[in-house]
Amino acid sequence: MESVHTEQGAHAGSFYSYTIGFLCSIVLTVIPVVIVLGGWLEGMTRAVALMAAGVLQLLVQLLFFMHLREEEKPRYNLISLILGLLILIVIVAGSMWIMMFNMVAQ
């Protein structure tokens, strides 16, 4: 059961890191809200900025809250996450691409 004891140290995170993570996520939520409510940026630039904030937010949650960086080898969690995100992008982007001819028509 040694692994559990060492795990406490490694997997626990600290009050400090949780708080940093929380503050980051607040900031990363405020930025896109301000962009939209303040009417900054336009069109594609705005979409990219909003998505970028979302992706950074994802990283914050993964690193500070879900403790992904503290995983021991072999890093099955990380591997399955990368595969999952890859296939997620394939199905979302693929659907948009395939159905585009129809979206334009409407």
Binding site: M1, A12, F15, T29, L37, A47, F65, L83
Partner: protein
């Protein structure tokens, strides 16, 4: 024999060189989360493809009111933080603090659900229902599925608090807390993308 004793014993059994059972269970839950990513991915893809098919009904720009949604976003973010603090308390072996933080997390989650229900009720009152258009079907399905996950998480959290109160912090209850905290952070992540793709990009 309770399985907490079993876990304790299995660690000492010489021939069981397998990894810790509870850690193995955590991996399975993580993989489950990946499957949930695919479910949400399908709903996101459907929403994006169908969001312009408003069928003469309301479109995102004149339907959504950001005020309530921004509030619920911050509520969910805060609950993700308090859920983290619960795990922290658990790792320090402080049962009462753990129960307290879980209760606060559940309360924040309930507020989130309350806000979502009132938003849906408001929209339906304005005549924007599931059957109005493909866009609204996709909207209710995507946002509603997330809400359903949060609601199930609430029931689960209450059940877990009862178990914690009865059995204290054992390897098994500890794993269960870790699992639900993963689930909760995961739902937070999904919400961030719902918020961005549906609401923020919708009103732009």
């Amino acid at each position: 024999m309770s399985s907490s004793q079993v876990t304790e014993a299995s660690a000492h059994a010489h021939h069981d060189q397998h990894p810790d059972i509870e850690e193995m269970r955590l991996l399975g839950f993580w993989i489950y989360l990946m499957t949930d990513v695919m479910i949400f991915g399908t709903f996101f893809a459907t929403y994006i493809v169908l969001k312009n098919s408003t069928n003469g009904g309301p479109d995102p720009a004149n339907l959504f009111e950001l005020g309530g949604v921004i509030a619920s976003t911050f509520i969910l973010l805060a609950s993700s933080y308090t859920c983290g603090l619960a795990v922290l308390a658990m790792n320090k072996g402080r049962l009462r603090a753990l129960l307290g933080w879980l209760a606060i997390t559940a309360l924040l989650g309930a507020c989130f659900i309350g806000l979502e229900i009132s938003e849906f009720a408001h929209l339906v009152n304005r005549g924007a229902t599931m059957g109005t258009s493909a866009f609204l079907s996709a909207f209710y399905t995507l946002v509603g599925t997330h809400g359903l996950h949060v609601s199930l998480g609430l029931v689960w959290m209450v059940a877990l608090m009862l178990q914690l109160a009865k059995r204290g912090i054992t390897p098994v209850t500890k794993r269960k807390v870790q699992v639900i905290s993963l689930f909760w952070h995961f739902l937070d992540v999904i919400w961030i993308f719902v918020f961005t793709v549906v609401y923020l990009m919708g009103v732009s």
